[in-house]
Subunit: 147 residues, 2 copies
DNA sequence: ATTGACGTTTACGTAAACGTCAACTATGAC
DNA sequence: GTCATAGTTGACGTTTACGTAAACGTCAAT
């Protein structure tokens, strides 16, 4: 169901923060399927507004979605991503909750830093492979740049 | 089947590069199960020597295994990891193969660099969460350091 | 009024990455 | 010999992260 463009004359240009996205729109933008987005909702990762049955995604939802996908690219499971997202959302009034939040943030940061070391090592190794192969090609009189 | 510790007297201390590992040993070291290691073998990621049926892992196999696990932590699939490992192994005599190797290396590096940007963004965000929470705790007169 | 584009739910299917037996084998210790 | 320990090969089960299809609703345009 296409979202009805309300017929108010000279509607102010949709400010980015107020824009509303359809599920297909987001699916296109992020190169995933609508099914995937609905699945994330089932798993409690996003909670779009509804107009009847149809889902309406806010700019905030969009950011969340892109955040989720970034997490995926880094190898986090959806469960982990949910936990990470919750870190931003949790109630920060209670003292005990604040300490718990701090603890979990630090745990995650430790994990992230490990990933970073892993990644740096990986990159270094592959840069070396590239350099060696490029050198070998040069020695054989081939320009490694024109593929 | 325990690997027979050959009864040669004063066996030279197992030089690291010559050491042989049992499957259980590697499983313990990397905190995975033997089943997992065998599975990786089924998938063509490692190929240990055999003594009869029993698998014998060399130092080289061990390195490969740790490499695989690092890849996993970074969110690569086993199929991707296999491809990455193959980059080190492929025949580098043919010119066409060299160019292909270069091409694929560069593709992977591009992928890795994207991951790095993702990761850096992630880390930055969580450091900010930590800082904010720590500041809030301080303001309430709590030392964020003693948990 | 029908076609098409887009939306919905429900439900079963599937690929990846192992876990978990079960049933068997080989070796060293007693 | 037999027991404990460590290894082996199937084979089926499980979790995660969606894919795929069915069956239907709704609006705009033809």
């Amino acid at each position: 169901m296409p979202v009805a463009p309300s017929a108010v004359p000279a509607k102010s240009p949709p400010r980015d923060s107020a824009r509303i996205y359809s599920i297909a729109e987001l699916a296109r933008e992020f190169a995933i399927t609508a099914r995937t987005i609905r699945f994330y909702e089932d798993e409690g990762l996003i909670k779009p507004r509804r107009q009847g049955l149809t889902r309406l995604y806010s700019a905030h939802d969009r950011v969340r979605l892109s955040w989720i996908l970034r997490g995926k690219r880094l190898g986090f499971s959806l469960a982990e991503i949910k936990e990470l997202l919750d870190l931003y959302q949790v109630d920060r009034t209670g003292l005990q909750q604040l300490r718990e939040l701090l603890r979990r943030s630090r745990l995650h940061i430790t994990d992230l830093e490990r990933k970073r070391r892993d990644l740096d090592a990986h990159i270094t190794e592959f840069r070396e492979v590239e350099a060696q192969v490029a050198a070998e090609l040069k020695q054989r009189g081939v320009d490694p740049e024109n593929d």
